[in-house]
């Protein structure tokens, strides 16, 4: 009787564990790092879910690369914890399913491209067939150069090789630090396609990039760093949710100004006005506002609903330190 009960309990426990959501690809908390008097990373915490593409944004010196290096055990944090794919980071095994393209991408110049991949596969401790390795090179457009020494590669080709290295050992998490810095527009488009293919395969990606457009197009979530701290983070709709309404008006009375202010924060001068609207504003807000303005005797020349771009939002956050509610 007791044995049956124990079995049942064990089964239940197993089912419970199996049904638990998998641990996130990256979990870090309270990361801190000082170089001499300079604080590079100051209490950074964030998560990258499985299969999620997260963009790391911020100005130069915001601590993005330092955070990435701490995650990968290349830099020792002064404080904080990192868990990669469910394993605590001081354990080298936590990096078993991680692919990494460093900002400073250099590979052994005396090896051929194919040999570099073979080396990384061995170090990752994964069995990857020669055919699969060739496919990795093909995915970054280096099929013809597999047997050439890396020493003769251009910067762009080395960065492509770096992408292949990051992807070759069947990673579950890929960390890309400025993956398109040396690529031409065509190469950038290739990287975008690669990222989307990774997401389709359920591979999590942490992407550090200066190219905001790139981040905006592929990322599910964005973490914005400034002076070593998380200035804002959230999904793109959360961060960019705020819309604004640009109006060109004539004969604006005090009453009309009050009506405008009731719709949202008003900025502007002369005949140009910009009204910031909340993200969850009902669809009727704009037509109602226009109808009321006309009723108040205002002549309406132009009404232009705008969506804030990530770039504007980023600049706004960095200038005002306003991370909004999504922080």
């Amino acid at each position: 009787m007791n044995a049956v009960a124990t079995d049942l309990a064990l089964d239940a426990a197993e089912r419970l564990i199996a049904e638990l959501p998998p641990s996130p690809a990256v979990w870090c908390s309270g990361l801190r790092k000082r170089y001499g008097r300079q604080t590079a990373v100051d209490g950074v915490s964030f998560t990258v879910g499985r299969g999620e593409i997260v963009g790391l944004l911020g100005p130069n010196g915001a601590g993005k690369t330092s955070v990435i290096k701490i995650l990968l055990g290349l830099v020792r944090p002064d404080a904080g914890e990192v868990v990669l794919l469910g394993r605590p980071a001081p354990d080298p095994g936590s990096r078993a399913g991680v692919g990494y393209l460093p900002e400073l991408f250099r590979y052994q110049p005396w090896l051929t491209a194919a040999e570099v991949l073979a080396l990384h596969v061995r170090l990752a401790g994964v069995a990857v067939s020669a055919e699969e390795r060739r496919e990795s090179l093909a995915a970054v457009g280096l099929t013809d150069r597999a047997r050439d020494r890396v020493g003769g590669f251009s910067k762009g080709m080395q960065q492509r090789l770096g992408l292949a290295v990051a992807l070759v050992a069947r990673p579950e998490l890929v960390v890309l630090d400025e993956p398109t810095s040396a690529l031409d527009p065509l190469g950038r488009a290739d990287v975008r396609d690669l990222l989307l293919a990774l997401r389709a395969r359920g591979v999590a990606v942490l992407l550090n990039s200066h190219l905001i457009g790139e981040v905006e197009r592929v990322c599910d979530r964005v973490v914005i760093l400034d002076k070593g701290r998380v200035a804002a983070s959230g999904t793109l709709p959360e961060l960019l949710g705020r819309r604004e309404l640009r109006l060109r008006l004539d004969g604006v009375t005090a009453e009309a100004e009050e009506r405008l202010a009731a719709a949202g924060r008003v900025t502007g001068s002369g005949s140009s006005f910009t009204v910031a609207l909340a993200a969850d504003e009902p669809a009727a807000t704009v037509p109602d506002l226009v109808a009321d303005l006309v009723e108040l005797g205002v002549r309406v020349h132009a009404v232009e609903p705008m969506r804030i771009s990530l770039e504007e939002r980023l600049l706004d956050i960095l200038r005002t330190g306003d991370g909004g509610d999504s922080r």
Binding site: L72, L74, R76, V98, Y100, L104, Q108, H120, R122, A124
Partner: protein, 287 residues
């Protein structure tokens, strides 16, 4: 997994040594030295002193001295080669960024360091074995001299190379690649000179001067190992016969005594200590 990492990195280091220009430079230098020594030894065979040919004993003494001199040249090439290989292979990879993608793999830094060390030891020892054996054969063919303990001599020379490259690796975790090579070779030269000074002190029965040699031999065992190697390569009978001040240690290319086991034990401890220190500094280093 760790053993696999060590051997993978060791293999990589050997491949680097084989493919970099340093190997070609090393081969060219060695070939030049061997050719020159072959020419010199062939001249030695027919030499006449005060109108009469050298006795076989005299010839053996000279041959063993000159062999030691040439082996010193070889050990210098090995030292220079490995020290300048040890620096770039670690510090250069950190500086260039090559280390980033490697160390982000699920491997321990200590395994990478040990692999590099193992690869360099294999390379240095291989070089000493091949070049040394070639030199022995040249001496054998030209003057008919064969050293009494060739294997011991080569093993000690390989140990000397190992000591220096371990120092090079430790320095490479702390300073730039070129600087680590220069400092390692500089210290090697300084210890050799200190050894010569100590030898002169021995010959003159000046204790404080002799102590310079003993202390330096403890701090950096390259010179001690070199003296042990010389002792294994020189002809003991000819030495005993012609003895005098040369035997007392006054001459830098003859060694009066072999190495004690205690000293060899100290060399092992020394290498382990430096390698451990290198591992600690490498582990703590931010990349």
């Amino acid at each position: 997994m760790t053993a696999q990492t060590v051997f993978t990195v060791a293999g990589l280091t050997l491949r680097e040594a084989a493919r970099r220009r340093v190997l070609r430079a090393l081969a060219a230098l060695t070939l030049a030295l061997l050719t020159l020594s072959a020419w010199g030894f062939s001249k030695l065979a027919g030499i006449e002193f005060e109108g009469s040919a050298l006795t076989s004993g005299e010839e053996r003494l000279i041959a063993s001295q000159v062999l030691n001199l040439v082996m010193f040249g070889l050990s210098l090439i090995a030292a220079l080669g490995t020290a300048f290989l040890a620096g770039p292979t670690l510090a250069g990879e950190i500086e260039s960024g090559t280390a980033l993608s490697i160390l982000a793999r699920p491997i321990r830094r200590s395994a990478v360091l040990l692999g590099k060390w193992l690869g360099l030891v294999a390379f240095g020892s291989g070089f000493v074995a091949v070049a040394g054996l070639a030199q022995f054969l040249i001496v054998r063919v030209t003057v008919g001299y064969w050293p009494p303990h060739p294997v011991e001599g080569l093993a000690l020379l390989a140990a000397q190379t190992t000591v220096l490259l371990t120092l090079g690796l430790l320095l490479a975790t702390l300073i730039s690649p070129m600087a680590s090579g220069v400092v390692a070779v500089g210290l090697f030269g300084a210890t050799w000179i200190a050894g010569v000074v100590g030898g002169i002190g021995d010959a003159l029965d000046n204790e404080s001067l002799a102590r310079v040699g003993s202390v330096s031999r403890m701090l950096l065992p390259t010179d001690g190992l070199w003296r042990g190697a010389m002792h294994a390569l020189q002809d003991p009978i000819a030495l005993a016969q012609f003895g005098g001040p040369a035997l007392e240690g006054g001459f830098p290319f003859l060694s009066p005594a072999g190495l004690t086991f205690a000293y060899l034990g100290w060399v092992v401890v020394w290498v382990a200590l430096l390698l451990g220190l290198a591992a600690v500094t490498f582990l703590r280093r931010d990349l």
